[in-house]
C-alpha cells in the first residue's frame, strides 16, 4: 500500500512516472471494469510468488461445470495480514465465493477482489487489486 502511495505521488509529477504505475501486468490481463462473482468448490491452491492462484469448480446456470482460476496477491501480502496457506487449504472441497475482475480474453480467469471463506470470513484484496 505504501508503495502505491509513493507511486501515486510520483505519478503526479511527470508523465514518465505514470509509466511506472502501469508497469504491472494486472491491467493488461484483467479488466477492472468487468467484475464477476463466482461461487464454487475450491479444488486447488497454488501458494507461490508473485501471485497465489486458487482454482474453483463452478456450476454454470446450465448445469455444466466450469473451472475458474483466480489470481491473488503474493503470499507475503497474506502473511502480513495474518492469513496463511492453511486458511485456504482447509477450505478445499468446500463452497467458496470470489469476486473477480475478469480476464480481458473472457476465459474463466480473474483477479481476486474479495474472497468469502466457507466460515464467512471475508478477505479483501483491496486496495491492492481494486
Amino acid at each position: 500500500m505504501i508503495r502505491r502511495i509513493l507511486i501515486a505521488f510520483a505519478f503526479a509529477l511527470v508523465p514518465l512516472a505514470h509509466q511506472v504505475m502501469a508497469h504491472h501486468n494486472m491491467t493488461a490481463i484483467f479488466d477492472f471494469n468487468d467484475r464477476v462473482t463466482v461461487t464454487g468448490t475450491l479444488s486447488k491452491v497454488d501458494w507461490r510468488n508473485p501471485h497465489i492462484y486458487l482454482t474453483v469448480d463452478v456450476k454454470s446456470a446450465g448445469g455444466a461445470m466450469e473451472t475458474w482460476q483466480a489470481e491473488g496477491p503474493s503470499p507475503t501480502w497474506f502473511r502480513i495480514r495474518d492469513i496463511g496457506k492453511d486458511d485456504f487449504a482447509n477450505s478445499m472441497g468446500k463452497s467458496f465465493e470470489i469476486e473477480l475482475s475478469r480476464a480481458r480474453d473472457k476465459t474463466p480467469m480473474g483477479l481476486i477482489r474479495t474472497i468469502t471463506l466457507p466460515g464467512g470470513r471475508v478477505v479483501s484484496a483491496c486496495p491492492q487489486n481494486c
Binding site: I2, L6, A12, V14, L16, T76, C126
Partner: protein
C-alpha cells in the same frame, strides 16, 4: 559467569545458528513478540521514508522569482492545485502509518490548514480539483475497495458527496469546467488512455462521456476557460510526453493540436484563455499564446523561466491568473552525486570526476571501469555510460528515453546486460561495453511482468533474473527469441537478488522467509547443468539485508548492505564463507558505515572485495532564477 565468558557463549551460539541450514529464528519467537518487532520496524521504515521525502510548498512568479512560502508543515505532498482565486492550495498528504492519503486545504496568507477528507486505513485520496467558485474540492477516493469521484466543501464542513462511482480503478481527475457543469478525468493503463468528461447534472446516474481514446497513455485533461477545448498530456511509446488540445465536444471537428515540443507534467490555462502553460522536458516553464474562438490556434511558444542550478525545480501547479507557480522543493535541497571509491574501512580512495546526476555505479570485472547511469535534465533522459578510472574518460553506451535498470557486466567485461522498460514490458537487452554497436535483444518474459537481471554465471551460460519475487534463469546460448527460462527458486517467499558464487556452485539470494517485510541472505547449492537449486540451505545474515549482495572473487567472503532502521546511513556487512568441501559461514561483521542517504546496488563492490563505489550525495548550489 564473567561477561567475557557470556559473550563467548553468545558468540558461539550465534555462529552455530548462522551456520546451520535453519528455518527463521523469528519463528521461535512468540507471535506477539514477532508482531511487535514488525510494527516497530515498520514505524522506523516509515520515519525514514518521511525523512527522505517530506517537504513544504513554495511559490515563484512569472519571472522565476521566489515570492512565497514555505507553506504548510513538512509533509509528503502530492497533487497540489491552486484555488481559482489564488488564495488557497488543495493538496494530498500521505499518512504513512495509516497507509492512507488525504486532501487538505492550505490558506496561502494565513497558513491555516483545513482537513477535507479522513480516509480509513489503507484507503487513499488523490487528484484534488477546485470547483470554479472555490467553494468545493472534488477528488478521487478509494472507499471500501471502490474507487469513485467525491466532493466536499472546501471549508471542511458538510458531508462527503459521491459524484460518480468508478466501475474500475486508477482514474485521474483533472479539472472542473468554468461553468461548473462538467468534470474531466482520464484513465490510462497498458492498453492505452481514455479521456472522459462527466456532466454533473443527472445525479445520481451520471454518465461519463468518452472524448478520445488512444493506444498511448494520456492524463491531466484541463478545460479551456470557455469550456470548448481540453488540453492534456500524451506519453508516447518511447516515454516522451507532449501537450495536445482538442475539442471538448467529441462530435466537434478539428484537432488535436500538438502545442509542445517535449513536455512533462500537465497543462494549465490562464483564466482569460489567452495563455497555455506546461513544463518542457528540461523543466523550463513554457507558455504559448492561444485563442479558442472561432477555433483553437496557438503561436509564440517561449520559455517563461527555469530555476537554475544543476537541478532545476519542477513546477507542479500554476494559478489561474498565470502569476503564481507552485513548487515542492526537494527535501534536502538540490543534490548531485559524487562518484567516490572507498576502501574496506570506509576511507576515501578516489573521487571520480565532478559531481553530477549519477546513480547505480558498478565496477567492471577487471576493476578498471565504472558503469553508471547519468541523468540529463536537458533531455530528461537517463543513460548508461562507462568511465575509465585511470583517465576519467567517459563513454556513452545508450541514448534513449526508455527507463533502464539492473545493469550487469558480463564476466568477460565485453557486454552490459540491462532491463529496459518499454511499452509496459521489461525486455532485457545487452550491448558492447566499449560503446560501439547497437543493442541486442536477450530475453522477454511474461508481458508486463517485471524482470531485472541479477547475475551472469561465471561461464557466461546463464542469466539469473529477479522476476518480481522469485528467481528465474535464462540460458544465454541459442537464438534469443527461442530462449526458455528455468524457474530456479519459486516458493511462497519473496526471493530476490540471485548471485552465484565465483565457482558457480552456490547461489546467494535475499528472502523474506524469516519474517515478512524483512530480507535475509540465504545460500543454496546451484546446479550449473540445469540452473536448479539443490538440497541444503544456509542463512548468512541475521539483522536484515537491503541490497548489494556480492561474492568476493575467491568465493571466501560475501557482502551486503545491512538493514538500518535507525537512520538512512549505509552500512556494509560482510561474512566469511567456504564453499569447499562443504558450505560454511562465519559471523557477519560491519565493515564500515557511510552517512546517508546513499543508494546501494549490484556492482558497488570490486571483484576482489577491496574497493566500494557509491554515488555520494553532495549539495548542489541552491536554485537561482533565469528570467525569460
Amino acid at each position: 559467569m564473567s561477561n567475557t565468558y557470556r559473550k563467548a557463549i553468545a558468540f558461539a551460539v550465534v555462529a552455530v545458528c548462522l551456520a546451520l541450514p535453519i528455518r527463521a529464528s523469528a519463528q521461535e519467537l512468540s507471535k506477539e513478540a514477532t508482531d511487535k518487532a514488525a510494527a516497530e520496524a515498520r514505524a522506523k521504515r516509515n520515519a525514514q521514508t518521511f525523512e527522505l521525502n517530506a517537504s513544504t510548498i513554495v511559490f515563484y512568479d512569472r519571472t522565476g522569482k521566489r515570492i512565497g512560502g514555505p507553506l504548510g508543515e513538512r509533509a509528503m505532498y502530492q497533487g497540489a492545485i491552486i484555488s481559482p482565486d489564488g488564495s488557497r492550495v488543495a493538496v494530498v498528504k500521505a499518512d504513512l502509518p495509516n497507509e492512507s492519503a488525504d486532501v487538505f486545504v492550505l490558506d496561502i496568507k494565513s497558513g491555516a490548514i483545513t482537513r477535507i477528507t479522513t480516509s480509513a486505513r489503507t484507503e487513499f485520496v488523490q487528484a484534488p480539483i477546485w470547483s470554479p467558485d472555490g467553494s468545493k474540492v472534488a477528488y478521487v477516493a478509494m472507499r471500501k475497495g471502490q474507487e469513485g469521484i467525491y466532493m466536499r466543501p472546501a471549508s471542511g464542513q458538510g458531508a462527503e458527496e459521491l459524484v460518480w462511482k468508478n466501475p474500475g480503478a486508477f482514474i485521474f481527475l483533472s479539472d472542473w469546467s468554468t461553468d461548473g457543469k462538467t468534470l474531466s478525468f482520464t484513465f490510462s493503463d497498458m492498453k492505452g488512455g481514455t479521456l472522459y468528461t462527466l456532466p454533473l447534472a443527472g445525479a445520481p446516474d451520471r454518465k461519463a462521456t468518452e472524448i478520445t481514446k488512444t493506444e498511448l497513455q494520456l492524463f491531466g485533461s484541463r478545460f479551456s476557460p470557455d469550456g470548448r477545448f481540453l488540453a492534456y498530456t500524451v506519453v508516447d511509446k518511447t516515454n516522451k510526453g507532449e501537450i495536445f488540445v482538442r475539442p471538448a465536444d467529441p462530435a466537434a471537428s478539428g484537432g488535436p493540436w500538438q502545442v509542445s515540443d517535449g513536455a512533462i507534467g500537465i497543462p494549465f490555462w490562464r483564466r482569460d484563455g489567452k495563455e497555455l502553460y506546461f513544463l518542457a522536458r528540461d523543466r523550463s516553464v513554457t507558455v504559448v499564446d492561444v485563442t479558442t474562438a472561432p477555433s483553437f490556434s496557438f503561436t509564440n511558444r517561449r520559455v517563461l523561466f527555469k530555476t537554475q542550478g544543476a537541478v532545476p525545480e519542477i513546477v507542479r501547479a500554476i494559478s489561474a491568473d498565470g502569476e503564481r507557480f507552485l513548487v515542492v522543493p526537494p527535501p534536502r535541497g538540490p543534490q548531485l552525486q559524487q562518484l567516490t571509491i572507498f576502501d574496506r574501512t570506509g576511507s576515501v580512495l578516489q573521487k571520480i570526476g565532478e559531481p553530477g546526476l549519477y546513480s547505480q555505479p558498478s565496477f567492471s570485472p577487471d576493476g578498471t571501469r565504472l558503469l553508471v547511469v547519468k541523468n540529463d535534465i536537458q533531455s530528461a533522459q537517463a543513460d548508461y555510460w562507462t568511465i575509465e578510472l585511470a583517465s576519467g574518460t567517459p563513454t556513452r553506451l545508450t541514448n534513449d528515453t526508455f527507463g533502464k535498470q539492473a545493469a550487469l557486466w558480463s564476466p568477460d567485461g565485453k557486454h552490459i546486460y540491462y532491463s529496459s522498460f518499454r511499452n509496459g514490458d521489461f525486455p532485457i537487452y545487452r550491448r558492447l561495453s566499449d560503446g560501439t554497436g547497437g543493442e541486442e535483444f536477450v530475453f522477454q518474459y511474461t508481458p508486463g511482468a517485471f524482470l531485472g537481471p541479477s547475475d551472469i554465471s561465471p561461464d557466461g551460460k546463464w542469466l539469473i533474473c529477479d522476476a518480481g519475487g522469485y528467481l528465474i534463469t535464462v540460458p544465454l546460448a541459442g537464438d534469443a527469441k527461442s530462449r526458455k527460462e528455468v524457474e530456479t527458486l519459486r516458493d511462497e517467499f519473496l526471493n530476490t537478488i540471485g548471485r552465484l558464487s565465483p565457482d558457480g556452485t552456490f547461489m546467494a539470494y535475499r528472502s523474506d522467509e524469516a519474517q515478512p517485510e524483512r530480507g535475509e541472505i540465504y545460500v543454496r547449492p546451484f546446479k550449473a547443468s540445469s540452473a536448479e537449486t539443490g538440497d541444503g540451505k544456509w542463512r548468512l545474515s541475521k539483522d536484515g539485508v537491503v541490497a548489494m549482495l556480492h561474492w568476493r572473487a575467491d568465493g571466501k567472503e560475501v557482502f551486503w548492505r545491512g538493514l538500518n532502521l535507525e537512520s538512512n546511513d549505509l552500512n556494509v556487512i560482510s561474512v566469511e564463507v567456504t564453499t569447499s568441501p562443504t558450505f560454511s559461514v562465519g559471523t557477519p561483521k560491519q565493515l564500515f558505515k557511510l552517512p546517508g542517504p546513499i543508494a546501494g546496488n549490484l556492482g558497488n563492490i570490486s571483484r576482489d572485495g577491496q574497493r566500494f563505489v557509491f554515488a555520494v550525495n553532495v549539495s548542489a548550489p541552491a536554485p537561482t532564477t533565469a528570467p525569460r
